[in-house]
């Protein structure tokens, strides 16, 4: 038998964690995190209710407007700010949402990490792209 490995943890630590050494090393058992994700998803969802509805109504009201009218709308600081906050919140909410989807369906090797990273990049890209577009519309048109 190989030299037996010593468990040098304190009594309190050993009593707290009933996993075997192998299980502990492999990271099996409860994740210990996820409540934050759950809560942030709810917060962004609640924030989305007024923001998305406002954006939807604004777009619907101006559906037949010419470009000039749209530019005038975006030159209003209130509307520009509303849209920016909405874009940011939507992108945050959708990044959290797709993360869960990827974690549900992708388990093999590098694909999971790549998927999660792609989600982060895509959401960030859409957010930055949207914010920049609104800024351009607000400042110059």
């Amino acid at each position: 038998m190989m030299g037996s490995a010593q468990d040098l943890r304190s009594d309190a630590a050993r009593a707290h964690d009933l996993r075997s050494d192998a299980a502990r090393a492999q990271g099996l058992g409860a994740a210990g995190h996820g409540s934050g994700h759950f809560w942030l998803q709810r917060v962004s969802a609640v924030a989305n209710i007024p923001l998305v509805l406002a954006l939807l109504i604004a777009c619907f009201v101006h559906r037949d407007a010419a470009r000039a009218e749209w530019l005038a709308l975006f030159r209003s600081p209130f509307f520009a700010l509303l849209t920016m906050v909405a874009i940011g919140n939507i992108c945050w909410h959708m990044r959290l949402g797709l993360q869960v989807v990827i974690e549900d369906y992708v388990h093999t090797g590098w694909r999971k990490g790549a998927g999660l990273m792609a989600n982060d990049f895509a959401a960030a890209l859409i957010a930055v792209g949207g914010l920049w577009a609104v800024l351009r519309l607000f400042l110059g048109g």
Partner: protein, 141 residues
């Protein structure tokens, strides 16, 4: 057993190999009777993913709006075509559906609405309100 037992100890299966020797899942979609909450849950996820893509398109449209010019006129013209109108109606439906589904989940998060009648009410409202809303907006457009 799908795997052949080897006399000497084999290396633990790599993630890709694990998938090849994957045990069959319990059949779910092919066997279980479809229920409305089940369908709505799936649609909630599907609409969320569709909205993610739709968000990218929305930001793209904002870019075109800021640029003005030929590309914007093309996009604007296409959106006013029958196909474009269909896309917008579908997008609004997905948005309203995801919104109602989210509210349904929020009721459950707060601990209410778990009984069979309450679930039935929540489910039917979640299914029908978005359709009615989208139809109303389409009729008004």
């Amino acid at each position: 057993m799908a795997k052949k037992a080897k006399p000497q100890a084999a290396a633990p299966p790599q993630p890709s190999q694990r998938v090849r020797h994957a045990r069959p899942l319990s059949p779910h979609i092919q066997i279980y009777r479809w229920t409305l909450p089940m369908a709505l849950s799936i649609l909630h996820r599907a609409s969320g993913m569709a909205l993610y893509g739709g968000m990218a398109l929305f930001v793209g449209f904002l870019w075109l709006l800021a640029d003005g010019g030929g590309a914007y006129r093309l996009a604007d013209g296409w959106l006013r075509s029958p196909l474009g109108e269909w896309l917008l109606v579908l997008f609004v439906w997905a948005l309203l559906h995801h919104l109602c589904g989210g509210l349904r989940h929020f009721v459950w998060d707060l601990g209410y609405g778990y009984g069979p009648r309450a679930t039935s009410w929540l489910s039917w409202l979640s299914a029908l309100l978005p359709i009615a809303g989208a139809a109303l907006l389409w009729a008004e457009a």
